[in-house]
Amino acid sequence: MRVRMLAAAAVAVLTMAGTAACGGSADDSGAVTLKLGFYAAAGDPADTTMRELVKEFTAANPTIKVELDVAPYVKFFERLRTQIAGGQAPQVWLSDGVLVQEFAARGALADLTDRVKTVNADDYSGIELNRDAKGRIYGFPQGAQTPVLFYNKKLFADAKVAEPTADWTYDDLAAAAKKLTKDTNGDGKPDTYGFRTYSPGFTESWWPIIKAYGGDIVTDDNRKVVVDSPQSKAALDWMLGTMGKDGFAPDFATTEGLGKGVVHTLFATGRVAMSYGIYARTLPATSAGVDFGVAPLPKGPSGRGNVAIVNSWVVNKKASAAQADAAWKWITFFSGEGPQRKWAELGEAIPINKKVASTALPADRHAFLESLDAATDLGANAVWSEYTEALAKRVNEALSGATPVDTALTSGQKEAQEVIDRFYAGQTQ
């Protein structure tokens, strides 16, 4: 009797668990529950706006119930990995653009190629940046980031230096930066630097500079590291010069000594007159009341080296058909004019809806759009986090002066290539 009762209880528990697990699928009435994940700090304006948009979406789609899964960036992606392992990941989530291929290559994401064909690709930016080596698309753009040259109008006016133009070269940048560097308290150290060269975030530092000098980081579907070249050396030598003999940029130790994330406020606090910055950097500069402008990246010997990151919505491969349809509905809703305009008001990313971008961005911010049109991707592949970390360690060693540039480039290329080869050895996709 006791055994029977226990068995009955076990069956009841299992049935309840099964029912809970199937909660996301469409029921007889066609209702579907969708777990939607995104990263934002609690109470952040992005969090608030996203919640408002979800409300709008569910009001327009009463058969779709949305459960939110929100956490700050680092926590979100740390948790996501274990959620995937435990089968508890959201059915649709906002992915950092550079992580899309990492999750896709391990079979966590649904292939969106056919769904993307149903929209007019010309209406959106960044779709092509998400295409993998085999032409498949695993993420639909949510917002774009690309670096341009930020400059402080007041500091330029005070130093009587002409503002940057689209024709500027790296020599023009250096000449202006030297004039803008000032030691106002006479302690022998600049209080205002002309330019911020080094940043731990290489998207706004050595990556575009190496490309502008004619070097490259990865080629052949982002599987071959080619950073060890005379062009890359020339780029890093130029950067070292700005922090050393030319002295118009804060050096590695000074920048790192500011603390985590503070490098991004160097421009907003007026410590540097010019800086490469992605669109999100307009927020701290605006909040600080800086009168600033943006210009295209200067021309190097081989162009401007524009790069972009397109943060994207991705769909869980394990989502049911009904959930995947609901997820795609959300993605197309978010890409529409209304939500994009509302998201653009936050000022944290370039809208991927081209019509909205052209009107929501002020005319003097259109350098971002031109940069985005010309941008290549940031070397995304299945092991992006690991190989870029291996490479960045070596490049930063060179930029700190701890290692000669050519030694750092040789070892960086070797170590980054080992990471890529380890993953792709024996892979068919």
Binding site: E78, R81, T82, F103, F252, E256, G257, A402
Partner: protein, 300 residues
Amino acid sequence: MAADRRPSARKRNAGERAWAVAFASPYLLHLVALAAWPLLASLYFSMTDYDLVSSPKFVGFDNFARMFSDGLFWRTLGNTAYFAVLFVPTQTALALGLAIALNQRLRGMALFRAAYFVPVVSSWVVVAYVADAVFNPQTGLANQVLDFFGLPAANWLQDPALVIPTLAGVAVWKGVGYMMVLFLAGLQAIPEERYEAAKIDGASAWNRFRYITMPGISGTTFLVLVLTSIETLQSFEQVFVMTDGGPHGASELTVLHLYRQGFQFFQMGYASAIAWVLFVLVLALTMVQFRLQRRWVHYA
């Protein structure tokens, strides 16, 4: 005949064992679910290629073989050993010194003891902020002190040569209070008569310390050394919040390397293998310490 109706001794014992198991079952359940099972799972994962998304693929000892040729792993192990060599003796000696200094019957002594204990209960995030106020190359107190003595400024946490000594210093500051309390307990357990007898025999202060205090607290010293060594090999939070392994990996300790492999680079199999190697190292180190303690620890 009445004795025949009583349960046999064997039955009684069985009944008592069942009750014992029933009372211990919450703990046993906890042990199996939260310790034994994850331990066995990680042992299995260490022999697989497991990316958290697809099913683990059995690869035998490949992950362990990879570790031998993984320069980064050896570098992090070297960093950890360097950190341990600086941290363990410094903290132990300082904790003992503080305990002796504070083992006095004076007014306000409890306040001093509490003051040394405050960093122990602070989180590493808070300590990281305090450390930044001290070691910031531009605004930190440490460089102001150097400047006062006419010495050149240092890039404490940004200099590959200084980062581990600086981290070890901060770790000592945070942890010394706890070990000091252990030493205080050890000191107070030494009978006062031994010191009185030694004084009557004319023993100097140094000889009293050497022949009474040191043997008297040798058990505590052993405990402190074992605990500190294990703590060092498991260090993670401090470097995670203070340097993130930088600059250029100069402060990347083995557990941070393990965390990155598992939770950032989708290599949970390899991360599990590192965890097991670390476990074996901790075990070996502890066994060596236990073997050596026979020569110098006195429990009488």
